[in-house]
């Protein structure tokens, strides 16, 4: 356990707020300017920052993040460059904010699990989310990450049966990422009615904080969910705002969602 993530949740809780986990794509529109986007997320109130690393075949992502991945790849983004040119600078500017890498397992395998974990930790990464690595496949990789002090954050889905969800939660590192909808990333006008119940179930079983993600884009949604979760993840809405109107728009969106998270 890196411990950084737990501290960030504790700070938000102490302020009477749910945590905002904010996602943006490293390298969109290019590597240096994405540093400004990440910084803006923290200025807007993000408690944890997810650093997206582009993959050519993002099967868990909807059109907004697919578009960002394509732009980032065109701009020359690679895991190595993100760890060298983006993460250290964001970490320097926002030393309190845990950084979590979000990418697909093939990108990590290509660098080598051990090399990644060591380098990531050195550069200031606290955790990683790999949406195509379910628990059955993650044993060896998680042991490697544990040894380096990088939390492998597990995901729970709407289709995950109760006992499996509890098992995932009990054994979690960092936080549990509850996927709100059966589907890919992207904004949704409505979230499923049983989401709060699922969050309660996972939260009861989990020793670490639980957040809801996928589809969340408004303060209202954040307010509703904050009664059942320790925080929310906002991705596509931020990526879209940053792409359309730059870092300040992403910052404003974070600030607005953060208002919804005040208890």
């Amino acid at each position: 356990m890196s411990g950084d993530i737990a501290k960030a949740f504790a700070r938000a809780k102490a302020r009477g707020e749910g945590a905002l986990v904010a996602y943006a794509m490293a390298g969109d529109p290019d590597l240096p300017r994405s540093v400004d986007v990440f910084t803006a997320l923290v200025e807007g109130g993000a408690d944890i920052v997810e650093v997206g690393v582009a993959f050519s075949d993002p099967i868990a992502d909807g059109p907004v993040i697919q578009g960002a991945s394509e732009r980032a790849l065109k701009a020359g983004s690679t895991l190595r460059r993100v760890l060298e040119e983006v993460v250290p600078e964001v970490h320097r500017r926002c030393p309190e904010t845990p950084l979590v890498i979000m990418t697909y397992v093939n990108v990590i395998m290509a660098m080598g699990e051990e090399r990644f974990a060591k380098l990531a930790r050195e550069r200031g990464v606290s955790g990683a989310i790999l949406p195509d690595l379910p628990p059955e496949e993650s044993g060896a990789l998680r042991a490697t990450f544990d040894a380096a002090g990088v939390d492998l954050i597990p995901l729970c889905a709407p289709t995950t049966p109760r006992a499996r969800a509890e098992a995932i939660a009990k054994d979690a590192r960092g936080f549990v990422y509850c996927v709100s909808v059966a589907g890919v990333t992207g904004m949704r006008a409505e979230l499923p009615p049983d989401l709060s119940q699922r969050l309660d179930l996972v939260r009861n079983a989990s020793p670490v904080p639980v957040v809801a993600g996928f589809g969340i884009s408004s303060a209202d949604q954040a307010r509703t969910l904050s009664a059942h979760a320790d925080g929310v993840v906002v991705g596509s809405a931020i990526v879209r705002a940053a792409h359309a109107d730059g870092p300040q728009a992403a910052k404003a969106l974070c600030a607005e969602i953060k208002r919804g998270l005040k208890r």
Partner: protein
């Protein structure tokens, strides 16, 4: 003989690398498939449909003029081109759609490259009365217009995919994304022996009918097992289907032929067994074409069905362990083979299949006179006439001016 070293694992390859949302569906599929296999009425139903509707067993045809021309082993052809819809793909779709019905699924989705799997899925859906959606790369929609029409005629919806290389890889991405959002009532019919566990096993088992028939037919035709069997390799379903029943027969050489595209040095090919490295694509760990940063590279082949940067995990294992030999054939070699087979045997093979034929001559000569080489004729070439005829037709021979 079983190359499955653990459930869904073939040596280092295989597994289930998918979003958590899909894991329960894959477990459900695995259980439903095991239950179906344990139920003799299921196998009987599949066998009945293959016999009555698909036209199985497909014949084993002696290729007399090719044998003579190549001057080596006796060449025989396993005629999957004669299966209903014109390729081996129907063996798998009949099985999977029957399985989906058994599981109570309401809708079917599929990806397709050449369109043969899409047509075969649309056909099975029409036969069993299920709605069908097929994801197809926009480039493939252009180059396989005949099959696009066939799918639509059969009542399927064809969804062109504009992302990435606009080919099979991207169609599969989109089909997986759709499945994630409709997983409770939808079955995803994967068309090759690739994807997350249990697909490589399920597809292989349904396609193994090819090799099982061949065993019996070879004994009847020439009194022994073939000395070598060759198949083209895209995702690997026709290859694993014809080869799998022979893995335990050390006397039988197993050969796969991949797309050499513009040549292995050109960087434009589909040779994932030959030049790929270990990685995860579309839910399994296998050999994939990728750069040093783990980004999947675009494949290239004149044949849409081989235009794929990955390959099924069991073939990767067979190739790595040396049980299967791997060769490649370029676009030009496949085209030449297409005409050679057309004019010597009266068969228009699919461009995918033409890759297997392209290595036939050298294999027949390596084996030598008196040996038996079986080429898996995975499909017919009607779907490819636009691509092929655009390059001009060689003049007829032996006809008076």
């Amino acid at each position: 003989m079983n190359t499955e070293t653990a459930a869904g694992r073939f040596g280092r390859f295989g597994g289930r690398y998918v979003p958590e949302t899909l894991v329960p569906a894959l477990m459900e599929l695995e259980e439903a498939y095991a239950a179906a296999r344990a139920d003799p009425t299921f196998d009987a139903e599949v066998a009945r449909v293959l016999r009555e509707f698909v036209g199985r067993p497909t014949t084993l045809t002696p290729a007399r003029r090719l044998t003579e021309s190549w001057g080596g082993a006796h060449v025989w052809l396993k005629r999957e081109d004669l299966a209903h819809t014109g390729a081996h793909k129907i063996n798998n779709t009949v099985g999977q759609v029957l399985l989906a019905k058994r599981m109570g699924k309401q809708r079917i989705i599929a990806e397709t490259g050449a369109g043969q799997h899409g047509v075969a899925t649309a056909t099975a859906c029409a036969l069993f009365g299920l709605p069908c959606e097929v994801y197809m790369g926009a480039l493939d929609v252009e180059r396989q217009a005949l099959n696009v029409f066939r799918m639509r005629a059969l009542g399927a919806v064809v969804r062109p995919v504009e992302s990435g290389s606009r080919t099979l890889k991207d169609a599969m991405n989109e089909a997986m994304r759709t499945w994630v959002s409709q997983v409770s009532d939808t079955h995803y019919v994967i068309g090759s022996a690739a994807g997350p566990h249990p697909y490589p096993t399920v597809v292989r088992d349904f396609q193994a009918i090819i090799g099982k028939e061949l065993r019996t037919q070879a004994q009847a035709a020439f009194g022994k097992l073939p000395d070598a069997i060759v198949a083209c390799v895209g995702g690997g379903s026709n290859a694993i289907g014809v080869l799998h029943p022979f893995i335990g027969d050390a006397s039988v050489r197993l050969i796969g032929v991949e797309a050499g595209g513009h040549g292995l040095d050109s960087g434009q090919h589909g040779a994932s067994l030959t030049l790929g490295s270990e990685g995860v694509l579309h839910g399994s760990r296998s050999l994939v074409l990728q750069d040093g940063d783990g980004q999947i590279q675009e494949a290239h082949s004149i044949s849409a069905g081989l235009d794929y940067p990955g390959v099924g995990p069991e073939l990767a294992h067979l190739a790595k362990t040396g049980r299967m030999e791997v060769r490649t054939a370029t676009d030009d070699e496949a085209l030449a083979a297409f005409y050679e087979v057309a004019r010597m045997e009266g068969i228009l093979p699919a461009l995918e299949t033409s890759h297997a034929f392209a290595r036939g001559k050298e294999l027949a000569r390596e084996l030598g006179v008196g040996k038996y080489l079986v080429i898996n004729c995975s499909g017919r070439g009607d779907k490819d006439v636009a691509t092929i005829s655009a390059r001009g037709v060689p003049p007829a021979v032996g006809v008076k001016a």
